[in-house]
Amino acid sequence: MSRRVRLWLVLAGGAGLAAVLVAACLKLPAFGGDRHPYGDRAVHASLARRTANTISSVNFDQRAFDTLGEMTILFGAVLGCVMLLRQTRDEQRAAPEPADVARPVRRYALLVLPVALVTGIYVIAHGQLSPGGGFQGGVVAATALHLLYLGADYTALERVRPVGAYEVGDALAASAYVVTGLAALIGSGAFLANTLPYGTFNTLSSGGTVPLLNAAIGMEVASAVVVLLARFLDQAVEIVKESGE
């Protein structure tokens, strides 16, 4: 099929899909309406369990089992990337050369690194209270480490980031989530049930199992992002094709 015929086919199909989508949009409840039965019930359940951040309550309490599935997708994707981006037989590792970094960049990166790392950990730790949580904070903490690559060079980054340890951390965090769920199963008869005392509203220890699951997710996401970026950076910086290929 030539590109031209294909483009016409896409446009025809797209026009049909657009018509159906517009018809569906016109039948949706009006934007900004006041009727949100599920939302109201979620807010009510979250307040009853003394979790200030309703979204964390939905993710780690009311829909904790779905988050287990989401975490498994993340884990599987990281595993797939590690398999796809491994060193093949016709490739070899070259030691990365030290690079010159402009002094303002170096100073700024090294100054911001600890701040960004603490911000990431803060966002994870306060997941049940303020906007944020394990997913968001994990990404911030993991990317903070990579400021070292900008500020110094790849060898310095590799020294603070043993990839093997993060791979183990990823697996440990994923199992910590499952173990917390199993503990609830033994304690109360339901997998991932929120069985711990709910604590005082709007304090760090409130929400029962929400902070625990949130911390497990934070560790999992941080480790996963570090491992992922390490594999992609290896491809860009270290792995070279053998000559004569």
Partner: protein, 115 residues
């Protein structure tokens, strides 16, 4: 005006689909898939919006003092973003393998099977 956010979501989704279908570069195609997903974020957040409402976080507002937007769709959007990011990473890894094995990232030139 009551359907505009939904129409924006549909428009973003269709723009991503058009890019996917006409893409000449697999990295560009992965980007277009992200655009398609961005349409679903707009749709989810649009469905959950409530006039004059604030974020469903009660660390600094008194419960019941103000209306809040639907937290269920916000949690779904978070799931959406996470899955989107992991799928993008996996697809980019696949593109790297294709570039290494076939020496091209143009989907039109990838017609033959190679072991």
């Amino acid at each position: 005006m009551h359907v505009l956010p939904y129409l924006v979501a549909a428009w973003v989704f269709l723009a991503g689909c058009y890019g996917l279908a006409t893409s000449r570069n697999l990295v560009h195609a992965v980007g277009c898939l992200s655009v398609c997903q961005a349409g679903t974020y707009v749709l989810l957040l649009g469905v959950g919006y409530r006039d004059g409402a604030t974020a469903p976080v009660f660390s600094d507002i008194k419960p019941g003092s103000r209306p809040v937007v639907d937290p269920v769709v916000q949690a779904l959007t978070l799931t959406d973003v996470v899955v989107g990011a992991t799928v993008t990473a996996l697809l980019l890894a696949l593109v790297m393998q294709i570039a290494k094995r076939h020496g091209t990232v143009d989907p039109d030139e990838l017609s033959e099977l190679r072991g």
